[in-house]
Structures are given as structure tokens and as C-alpha cells.
């Protein structure tokens, strides 16, 4: 792993964390659609990134977000679960011919259809866990389902916008 890649990973981590807790924390559409864009950071880790370091990074990221949301442990639990299933999910979705080694599984590299099947179930898993744990002990079924569905759609749209604006297509073939 080159030092440039490590540098980019660290900068990305800090940027996602700051943007999440400074800006996106206040962005909640109609009181139901939350914008947990930091999840995209874990999704866009390179394909050959091992599960163990991915989970450690997810743990740190989740804890950082939790500190500012005052939801101690809830973001952490859901993002670690996402990091755990990511590698397996990537393996299932391997296109014919396999991945390049350090490919970033983004929409620009893999196409919209592939990214949809890759990211939407993972976003849904994260939101399902987050809102389920957050609402344990309350009997709000319908509002929670609304929050899960609308937030997932919202985050998916935001993640596409973020990739179009701030990510570059991989050079080469």
C-alpha cells in the first residue's frame, strides 16, 4: 500500500467525519429523512481492503459520529456490521473477469446499475440497525419504517451526487 493511498484514506476519514457532524447533522428532511453520508466512506474503501482493518476504521468512524450525535454506540454498532458484511457482498457481486486489485467500487468505476445493487442493500442494513436500536423500548413502528426507507433513499441520492462532484473516474481502460 503506497503512502499516497494511506494519506488519501486518512484525509477522507477526517473529511467525512467533519462534514457529517458539522453540516449533515443538521440536514434532516421533513423530520424523517436523515443524511448519514459517512457510510459512503466505508462503502468506497478499495475492493482488496481486508475486513479486519475495515472494521477497525468503521469502529473509529462510528464512535466519532456517535460523540456528536449523543447516540453512544448506536452508529458504531451499525457501521461495524456494515463493514463486516461488505467483503462478502463484494465477492457475491464480482463481475465476470473479477476486480482490479485496488479498484474503488464507486459508481464512476462500476456503473450505475452495479452501484445500485451494491450500495442500496448495505445502506438499508445500516439504517435498519441504527433506527431499530435507537427506537428499542418505544412502540413506534410506522415512523421508524418511514425513517428507514426515506433515509436510505435520501442517502443513496446524496452519495451519487457526492461521487459525481468529488470523485474521479479511474484512468486507463
Amino acid at each position: 500500500m503506497s503512502s499516497r493511498r494511506v494519506f488519501l484514506l486518512v484525509v477522507g476519514f477526517v473529511l467525512y467525519l467533519i462534514i457529517q457532524v458539522m453540516l449533515l447533522k443538521n440536514l434532516v428532511l421533513f423530520g424523517t429523512a436523515f443524511c448519514f453520508l459517512y457510510v459512503l466512506y466505508i462503502l468506497l474503501l478499495p475492493v482488496d481492503f481486508k475486513t479486519v482493518p475495515a472494521m477497525l476504521i468503521a469502529f473509529a468512524l462510528g464512535l466519532g459520529v456517535d460523540l456528536f450525535y449523543d447516540t453512544l454506540g448506536i452508529h458504531t454498532a451499525s457501521i461495524v456490521a456494515l463493514a463486516f458484511v461488505r467483503a462478502g457482498w463484494l465477492k457475491i457481486l464480482t463481475p465476470t473477469g473479477g476486480y482490479d486489485d485496488d479498484l474503488q467500487p464507486s459508481m464512476l468505476n462500476m456503473g450505475f446499475g452495479w452501484f445500485l445493487t451494491y450500495s442500496l442493500p448495505l445502506f438499508l442494513l445500516h439504517h435498519l440497525l441504527f433506527f431499530y436500536i435507537e427506537n428499542l423500548g418505544t412502540n413506534l413502528f410506522l415512523p421508524v419504517v418511514q425513517k428507514i426507507v426515506y433515509s436510505t433513499i435520501f442517502v443513496f441520492i446524496m452519495s451519487i451526487i457526492a461521487q459525481l462532484l468529488f470523485y474521479r473516474r479511474r484512468r486507463g481502460i
Binding site: 479486519v52 472494521m55 456517535d66 456528536f68 447516540t71 454506540g73 458504531t76 467483503a87 418505544t138
Partner: protein
Amino acid sequence: MQRILLFLFRVRAFLLFLFLEGIAIWLIVSYNSQQGSAFFNSSNQLSGSVLTAQNNVVEYFSLASVNRNLVEKNAELLAELEKYQKPADSVFIELDSLLLHSFQFKGAKVINNSINLSQNFITLNKGSNHGIREGMGVFNEEGVVGRVKGVTKNFASVISILHTDLLISSKITSSEVFGSTKWDGKNPKQAKLLYVPRHVTIEVGDEVVTSGYNAVFPEGISIGHVLEVKQGTDTNYLDITIELTADLSRISYVYLVENNQEEELDELYQSNGISNE
């Protein structure tokens, strides 16, 4: 032996997963007590100072409405003060000085707030250095805001009234009936008034204030107005929806109140086996 080690090495990701989830669940459980350690939340030094810096920028956007509200509160306080001026010619009975001094008030600024989760918290820019302590009541010029959960040296974290576990002892002013206000997690402008028996007649628009029974808030701080009264489905109690007077989406300055006699009251309750919510 080697096989076991090899097996463990092969499932290391899963083991780490279990370990990290274990930590997360432990954090969730230990944090969910009403009065918890304040280290791992937004009132610790690191996130507190970041939030303060953010708030220094954002507060300019709400200055106008804050000023308007403060002016209104000042006017109200001046009117209140008028009542305590000694009348020129009538018998004046002085209140017991102990009663007069049983509540102490402090001010603080909100630097972090949320309203859309089901368990919302607020962070204030003052902590134990400024005399803030766990369990103090928090309100602003509009009404009740919450209750202090934990403090560090310079910051305090507050359980918002929009937290599905917080009960606030309240009463309806028109009929002097007592109940408990609790948020149901749905609309950040509305809450439920629990434990009001069915025989009580309540009008829409009746005012709901703090009862002064649980020694956190003094009596008579506004909580909300009755919005809707329904016969509850199963129990002996009415299903009352109230509209909160405090608009939690735009609070910026709050007051904190401390009851100097709370310890004594709690001691009394405990020695008699009464649980106080």
C-alpha cells in the same frame, strides 16, 4: 492445537466483529441510564470545543429571534417584579427566607441540539466549573427544555424533553390535576400527558405547567397547552396530547434551576420508601 489456532485465525474477522459489536452494545447499555458518565458524549472536552467553534459561526443567524424572545422575557419578569414591591399601606407578610432561597437560577448557551431522533440530547457551554450539576432542570423563556444528565468541567449534556424516557411531573392549571409529561417520539412539537384519570374534565387549550412535586423544577414553569383529549383505549387514564410551548428546534439560550433542598427531599422520600420520578 495447531488446527484450533488455524481455525481461529481463519475466523478472525468474525471474532473481531463480535468483539467490536460487544463494545458497542456495552456502550449503548451503559449510556442509557438517565444519569451517566459524561465522558463519551458531546459534553467531553474535544467535541465540546469543536461544537463551540461551530456555534460561534452559526449563532449569528438566530440573533434576531433570540433578542426578541429575551426582550419578551424581560418584560414579563419586570411585571412579575412589580408584584413583589411592598405596597404602601397594607400589612405585608414576609415569606420564610428559606423558601425564598430554595431555588437558584443560572444561564447557559446551547451548542448542540437534535430533535429528530427518539432520544434527543442537548449540549450546553457550561459545566461543573460554573456550578452546573447533574439533575438540574433546564428551561427557557418559552417553557421546559429538559434535565441535566451529566457534566464535565466546561460542558453539560442535557436530556431533552424530546426524549422518550424523560418524565416531567406536571399539572393542569385550570383543574389542578397532576400528571406526567412524556414525549411519544413522533412530533417534536407535541407530547403526551400521562396518568390523568378519566373523571377529570379537561378543555382544549388548558395550560399545563410543572407541578413542583419532584423538586427538579419550581412550580409553574410552562410546558404546553392541551391540544386534544381522547378516551384512552385500555387503561383508566385519559389520552391527552399537549402542544409544547418551547420550540426545541430553535433554542439558543436556556436557564438552569437548582433546588437547594432537593437532597433533603430525596432523603425524606427514600427513608419513607417513596419512589420519586
